[in-house]
Each structure stands twice: as structure tokens, then as C-alpha cells.
Amino acid sequence: MVDRQLFLHINWSILAIVILLFIAGVLNLYSASAFRIGDGTAITPFYKRQILWGVISILAMITTMLFDYRHLKNSSWFIFLVAVASLIAVLFWGKTIYGAQRWLDLGFFNFQPSELAKVGVVLVTSAFLSKINHSLGLRDILKVLIIVIIPAYLIARQPDLGSALLLVFLMAGMLIYHGIRKNTFKTLLLTTPILIPSGWIFLKDYQKVRLLTFLNPGHDPLGSGYHVIQSQIAIGSGGFWGKGFMEGTQSQLRFLPEKHTDFAFSVYGEEWGFIGSLILLFLFSLFLYQIFLSSEEAKDKFGTMLCVGVFFYFFWQIFINIGMVLGLMPVVGVPLPFVSYGGTSLLVNFIMVGLVLNVSMRRFMFKS
């Protein structure tokens, strides 16, 4: 039975790491949901919803593994176009939450088209690059850029700078991985420094403030710098061994902002200390390494590029998020994969893992 063979080839270590990360995330969420009332503690039910989403996401991941990924090479454009269409729909009919118009109300749940766009971009870019057998010239790069810039722009307008940047960054990562012509690379090196300041014009005021705050967080400790400072206090005060599960004062007494989502790692760092943080960091590194191995073992270029796309999808999120909570990066709304609260993003994370597992389990499937 082909299916039985496939089952044997599943990359169990990726699966194990992801499940571990997810469990750590749920525990962390449970703690972050607790807050003290008087001398007692109350817990909001965030973690239950996260578990429910986890189950749905794992089912979605399994579904993603069932069919041969090579079919995606042709349907990637279709998925991409659906994503762009729903991004446009969000502009008109999107639900506005916290001043950002990111959600489409599908009745049974709020769907975030930007998440679908991430899958779409990974698929389309992989399909596109897998057909090119030479180092990329300016023309090739521009083609990819035009494909990616459309959803990136639409997402930036919502506004969701974090997701938009993520699209551009993961595209850039895939391009560099694929290989770029010497001259083209030089041209890019010279022109990017000119393009970055002009990008400033497109930033919203609060985004500009965030960047400036990053450069000088002490400047306005109760304004935008507050997040970064409180996050560092939380993590730093955790010390070597941490304050213990549910003992973090920064999170329990709500000094930490956005502790369920973007600053989940701060809660974790405060309660589990240097040791716990290092273990989590190691798990993430191992996870990335496993994706890297899958990309090496893939039997075709599309499979390799798919894994590389997923690699960058996770890499940038981990890099930006942990960098942000450690005070090394500006505050950009990027969640920490599997740990931060958020249904759609969890779903997409597991689908992405599914893609990698799909490629990896079919590495012996056919001879070239």
C-alpha cells in the first residue's frame, strides 16, 4: 500500500517539535489568561479556544499531507488569486477590530485573508522559481516582485505592517536561496538603501512612532516605548530559573501588553527564566533545521522551494517576534508561531508544516 509506505516516511521529529511548541504555547496562554482579583486568581477562557483551534489545525495539516504536493504546482495560481480576491473583499466588507480592517466574517468564524495570502505567495513563488534553472536576473526578480507586491500592498493598507513585511521578506529569502546573478545582486545592493527611506512615506503615523520608539525606547516610557520596556522587565526579572508557572508578576498584574499574542514570549520568559527560554529557542532552531533537512531531501525543485518558502515563513516570524520582545527589533505585530494566541495564524502554521511533511514523506516516491 502506497499510503502505508508514506506513513512510514513521515518526519516524526518535525511533528513532535510542533506539538511540543503548541503545548508550551497553550500552557503559556493559560498562565497569561490568569489575572489576580483581590487575593484570588481568575482565568479567561482563551486557552480553551486555542486548544479547539489546535485540533482543527492538526486536522487541516493532515488534510494537507494527503494529496501529492506536485498537484499544487498547477493550482498554486488559483490559491493565490483567491487570496488576492479576498484581500480586496476585505477592503470593502472587512470587519474592523482595533482600528485595523483585517477580517472577513464568514459566519462561523472570522477569516483573515492575509493568512491565506502567505500560503498563496509561498506556493506561487515556489512554482515560479522551480521553473527557472539559472541564476536570477533583474527581470526574473521584478516578475516575482510584482506578484508579491500586490498582496503585500493590500495587507499593508489594512494596516498590518507585520504581515506585509513578512511576505516581502520571505520572498527575498527565497530569491537569495535560489541564487541571484552577480551584477543583479550588486544593482540591488545599491538601490535598496534608496528605496527604504521612500518607504517611510507609506507608513502610518503610529508605525513611524513605533520605529522611532525602537530607536530610543526610554524617550516616552508610558507611550509606545512602554511595550518594549515592560517586555524586557518581564523577561529580565525572570532571571535564570524563572518565577515559576503562573507566578509572573508582570503578566499576572497586567503590566505586560498584548501578552496573549505578540508578547507571549515575554510571559514565557518571565515564568520559565533563562533555562526555559533557551529550551524554547533551541526547539525553534531544531524545527527550522528539520525544515532545512526536508528541503535538502526533496526530490524535485518545487518541493525544495516549497520547504524553503515555509522555512522563511517561520524564520522571519520567529526572528521578528523574539527580536521585538527582547528589545532588538521595532514593535511590529508579528505573532510567535504556535505560542501566540490566534486561530487563523495557528491554522496556517499547521498547514505550512503539513506542506513540509507532504514534501518530506514523498521524498522516495519517484525517480527522476
Binding site: 541564476s135 529580565g236 532552531s285 532545512f292
Partner: protein
């Protein structure tokens, strides 16, 4: 394939190395950063986390109350509401300050200044008081609107209230906001604290203040208190029971209505002060939360200087009251006998100067010289005794030095000496100076309290007590007058004669059933008039009039009072100050109300 790759800066394996490089960088950069935050700087951040959630709040200690000798309340504490901010809890300080200005009607600049002034003196997460003594209207507005202004707090502070206001203003003084100077000098004081500035409030500060308590609180990010415990309970300040008798004080104050001057009543047998009035008074309640500019200007421009405590801070020539000292000094001289007489023709010549007596007394002995207050007798005495003996004796009798009463800024007056005159005027002591000194004019200056203490000593057998304002003060052994008992008794009898004798100058003090002795005095006034009043004839008349003294004692079976009244620009002592003492005697010996 290899040809195509040749044009690339990357070799075939570049992509793989690139990914590995990223993974290793991620792990290395973040583990170093984690080590820096969680190991290297762990203590620093732990402290920050503690600071976040733990706040300390001072608990005000109630200030000690003032009571009179019968337990009547004189100064109390009432709750007052102040507006404070916690800087760290204010999302927008500028806007908050503006809102405070709107609530309190304080000009925005003033609110800003107040904020800036106190910024450095308040620890983080502690209340900084911006506006004190909120009106009820302001309070209700702030109460309803403050939920929209995080960091704004209403603080209840005790506020001092002086129940009798002007009547005791010079005794009690007042409290007011501690100045920057006081805050830096006294580490116990916090911004917004009230501290004694004048009177007993100042001199008894240590006893009255008590000790603030400290409360430790655990708060969450919105400043909500989750848990609190008291680390130190506040220690209330001690109440102070004064020797002052409110009834006598009030009576004396009423008698001075419309006049400037001082009235003092002392229990002669203990030195306890029963009344200490300086007129005009001022409303010390005005100072507690900062006097308005307008009222302050009024006080400053008042030519009668209401802030001056005339009983201890103003000095006057004692006039004929000083004859009591002169007579005492003469009486202990072996070569002077009380019965020796001189002839008073109405004036005495010294060189080409003529020194006048207020009337021709004819033959005058020592007793008559006191009873009828004959100047000629004392010109002659002054000439005979000389400044050295007179000043030494006067100092021994309690003049020229402070009495040591528990009030700030007491003045010691002046007993002139040869050295003093040489230093002050670069001139020798002259015969005429002796003449002037002998009748209590010229350079000599005394405070009303010194006179009252001296008269008390005459009446109590010669003990100069420290005038005491506190009922329970430990008795200090009195200093004895350097007089012989017979000379003291002589002056004592002469003072009684001055009241009871047909020609006595203090006849109006005669009181049935009470032994009363008195001495009048008139001190000449030169050049006291405020400039801007020079054009007003009525004012000129007032400002050129002499100060009138009346120094008296009064005793019955169970008590002895020393009573001194000084009325500025009241004319002669008998006419101006006499009626005040007269009415006080009626009050003191009216058996329908209890004393002591």
C-alpha cells in the same frame, strides 16, 4: 547547469549554507541577548518589576491639638481634600495638568510650575500634590470625572483650623506648606506637608508633628490596589494644653479692639501666661493653604503691622515704669534712705539743659516719688547712681535679655551701657543720658513681657520665672531678683499706695477685696509715623501721641496676677492703658465665672 551557475555569485551549495547560517545566527544572537537580560541584568530587572507592583504610601499623622488650660479647643484638624497625580500612571501629563487647571480654576502656568517644582521631590509612583484645599464643588467634579483621568488621585489631608483666629494668632502662629528650603533641611517632610511657620506651631513643631506611617500596597497595571499592609502605623502628634485661659485672652483681646498694643496676664506665682495679646491680630487661618495675594498685600500695607507680636517682638521705652527698678536700686544703697527728701520745682537743670518733671511735686521722698511719679526725684537718683550700677541692676531684674518664652523671634530689648554707647554712637556716656535712663526714656527699650515678668517678681516675693505657655511644663527654678527683701517689699507697698493713695497715678485700678498695685508709664515717641500719613492731621495727631503703660499686680487669697497693658499712641499710661487693666481686673475677680 554549471555554466549557468558560473554567472552567479553563489555556488551550488550557497542556499543550503545560507539557511544554516540563519538558523545558527538566530540561536546565537537570541541566546546571548537572553543571557544579557536574564542573567547579567537579572537583578536590575527584578527591581524594576518590584517597583512596578509595589507602592508605598504615607499615612498622615494627625497633628497635636492646642487646648487652653481648661481644655477648651484652640486648634484642631479638619479633613481637607487635595488633588494629586501619580506621574507614572498619567498617560498624558500635559493634558492631565491642563485638566487640573480646568477643575481648580488655577491658571495653567501655576499648575505647571507646581508640577515642575515638586517633580524632583516625589519618588516614582507616589502621590504628588498639585492643588490643596479643594472646594466641595471642585471635589464632586473631580470625583465624577477622574475615572477618565488615570493617575489623578484625591488625597485627604488633615487641615489646621484655628477656632479663635485673631484672638490667639500671635500665640499659636500658623502652619503652612513647607518651603523648598524646609523640605531639604528636614528629611521627614514631604512635598505638600504643612509645617509650623510662626508662634507655638513653629516652636512646638517637634511635639505636634508626630510620625507618618507607611503603607505597602501591591497594585496592578491600572493602579488598582490588590493587597495592602501597614508597615508603620502613624504616631499622632502630642496635644498641647496651654496655660492660656481662653476667657481672659478673649476679654483682653476685646479690650484692645481698635487699639495697637499688648496685654499680658501672668500667674505671678508660677510664671504661667494666662493671656498674651498683641493688637491688632490677624486671621491665622488665612495662611494655612497659602494666603491670597490681595490679603497679603493688605496685611503688609497695614501701618499697624498686625503680624508683629508686640508682647515679645516690639520694644518700647518703659517710661515711668522703670522708676520701680530705680527705686529698688536706690533702696538697697546704704547711703540712700527712703525717707530722704528732695524738692521738686518742676524741672532740674543740667549744664544748659533743663529736664522737666510733669508737675511741681514739692518735697518728695522715695515712696511719694513712685506714687506720684515724680521725675525730678529720679533725675537726681540717676545722677547719683550712674549708668553702670543702673544697667547691671536692670539686667538683674530681667531687662535687656529675652525671657525665654517658647515663642520664636523674641527680642531682648536694650539696657544701654557706656560701652554700648561708644560702639553705637562713638560717643561717651553723658550726665543727661543718666537723667533720661532714670525715668525710662532715651536709649532704654523693653518688651511688654519683660515688664510683666518683672512685676510678677515684685508681687511673688522676688522670683523671675520663665514665662511659660504650656500648662504641664516642668518648672524651671526661677532666678531671684538681686534685691533685698525689704527693698522689694518697699516697691510692692509703693505700688499698692499708687492705687490706693489719694494722689496715686493708678487710682482707677482700685478694686474692692483685692490687693492691687500698679505703676503707670508714658513712653515718648519720636519719628514713628509712616511717611504716607504725614499729610493727614488726624493721623499726625495719632502717630505723635505717646505710648501708655500700665503695669499692675492684683492678689486675693488664692491667686496673684501680673497684668501689663501697653497701648501704642494712647497718650499717658493712666488714660490709655489704665482702663484696659481696670476692665480686666473686673473680669478676673468677677466670682461668677471660675478661673484656674
Amino acid at each position: 547547469m554549471s555554466l549557468l551557475k558560473a554567472n552567479s555569485i553563489f555556488n551550488e551549495k550557497f542556499g543550503s549554507y545560507f539557511l544554516l547560517f540563519l538558523i545558527i545566527s538566530l540561536f546565537c544572537i537570541f541566546s546571548v541577548r537572553l543571557w544579557y537580560l536574564q542573567v547579567y541584568k537579572a537583578n536590575f530587572f527584578s527591581q524594576k518589576a518590584q517597583d512596578n507592583l509595589q507602592r508605598r504610601q504615607l499615612i498622615y499623622a494627625p497633628r497635636g491639638l492646642f487646648l487652653d488650660r481648661h481644655g477648651e479647643l484652640l486648634a484642631v484638624n479638619e479633613p481637607s481634600y487635595s488633588l494629586a497625580i501619580i506621574r507614572e500612571d498619567c498617560p498624558d501629563i500635559e493634558a492631565t495638568l491642563e485638566q487640573i487647571s480646568r477643575w481648580t480654576q488655577m491658571p495653567a502656568d501655576q499648575v505647571h510650575d507646581e508640577f515642575k517644582r515638586g517633580k524632583g521631590m516625589v519618588r516614582s509612583f507616589e502621590n504628588q500634590i498639585i492643588a490643596s484645599n479643594l472646594s466641595f464643588d471642585t471635589l464632586t467634579r473631580v470625583e465624577t470625572e477622574s475615572p477618565y483621568w488615570p493617575g489623578v488621585k484625591i488625597v485627604i489631608q488633615p487641615r489646621r483650623r484655628y477656632l479663635q483666629g485673631e484672638v490667639l494668632s500671635h500665640v499659636l502662629g500658623y502652619v503652612a506648606r513647607a518651603s523648598e528650603d524646609e523640605l531639604t533641611r528636614d528629611p521627614e517632610l514631604r512635598l505638600g506637608d504643612n509645617v509650623g511657620k510662626q508662634g507655638l506651631e513653629l516652636s512646638m513643631e517637634r511635639i505636634l508633628r508626630g510620625q507618618k506611617g507607611l503603607r505597602k500596597m501591591e497594585v496592578d497595571a491600572s493602579g488598582r490596589v490588590l493587597h495592602q499592609e501597614v508597615l508603620d502605623y502613624p504616631v499622632p502628634g502630642n496635644n498641647i494644653q496651654l496655660s492660656i485661659d481662653l476667657g481672659i485672652q478673649q476679654k483682653a483681646f476685646d479690650l484692645m479692639d481698635g487699639k495697637s498694643g499688648s496685654v499680658i496676664v501672668i500667674d505671678a506665682d508660677s510664671g504661667q501666661v494666662l493671656a498674651l495679646v498683641s493688637a491688632p491680630g490677624y486671621d491665622n487661618n488665612e495662611f494655612v493653604f497659602g494666603i491670597s495675594h490681595e490679603k497679603w498685600q493688605n496685611i503688609l500695607s497695614n501701618p499697624h503691622h498686625p503680624l508683629q507680636n508686640r508682647s515679645i517682638q516690639s520694644t518700647y521705652p518703659p517710661g515711668s515704669v522703670f522708676k520701680l527698678v530705680m527705686a529698688g536700686l536706690a533702696h538697697i544703697q546704704p547711703d540712700i534712705r527712703a525717707a530722704d527728701r528732695i524738692f521738686c520745682s518742676g524741672s532740674v537743670a543740667l549744664g544748659n539743659r533743663v529736664f522737666r518733671c510733669w508737675k511741681g511735686h514739692g518735697w518728695v521722698d522715695m515712696k511719694k516719688s513712685l506714687v506720684e511719679s515724680c521725675d525730678s526725684y529720679y533725675y537726681q537718683l540717676g545722677d547719683r547712681l550712674g549708668v553702670d550700677r543702673i544697667s547691671e541692676f536692670a539686667v538683674g531684674s530681667g531687662f535687656g535679655r529675652s525671657t525665654g518664652i517658647d515663642l520664636p523671634h523674641e527680642r531682648s530689648g536694650l539696657i544701654p551701657t557706656r560701652d554700648w554707647k561708644r560702639q553705637r554712637f562713638n560717643d561717651g556716656w553723658r550726665g543727661g543720658d543718666n537723667f533720661n535712663l532714670a525715668i525710662g526714656q532715651g536709649f532704654i527699650l523693653v518688651t511688654p513681657l519683660q515688664v510683666a515678668r518683672f512685676v510678677a517678681a515684685i508681687a511673688n516675693g522676688g522670683s523671675l520665672y520663665k514665662p511659660s505657655l504650656l500648662l504641664d511644663e516642668k518648672k524651671v527654678d526661677p532666678v531671684q531678683l538681686p534685691w533685698s527683701e525689704s527693698s522689694r517689699n518697699f516697691v510692692y507697698q509703693a505700688m499698692i499706695e499708687t492705687v490706693e493713695g489719694e494722689r496715686g497715678t493708678a487710682r482707677r485700678l482700685y478694686t474692692d477685696g483685692v490687693i492691687v498695685g500698679g505703676k503707670t508709664g508714658t513712653s515718648q515717641v519720636v519719628g514713628l509715623m509712616p511717611q504716607h500719613l504725614e499729610d493727614d492731621p488726624e493721623a499726625v495727631d495719632y502717630w505723635l501721641r505717646h505710648h501708655g503703660w500700665m503695669a499692675a499686680f492684683a492678689r486675693n487669697n488664692d491667686r496673684t496676677y501680673s497684668i501689663v497693658a501697653l497701648v501704642e499712641h494712647g497718650g499717658s499710661g493712666s488714660r490709655a492703658a489704665g482702663p484696659v487693666v481696670r476692665d480686666l481686673l473686673d473680669y478676673l475677680f468677677d466670682e461668677s465665672h471660675p478661673h484656674q
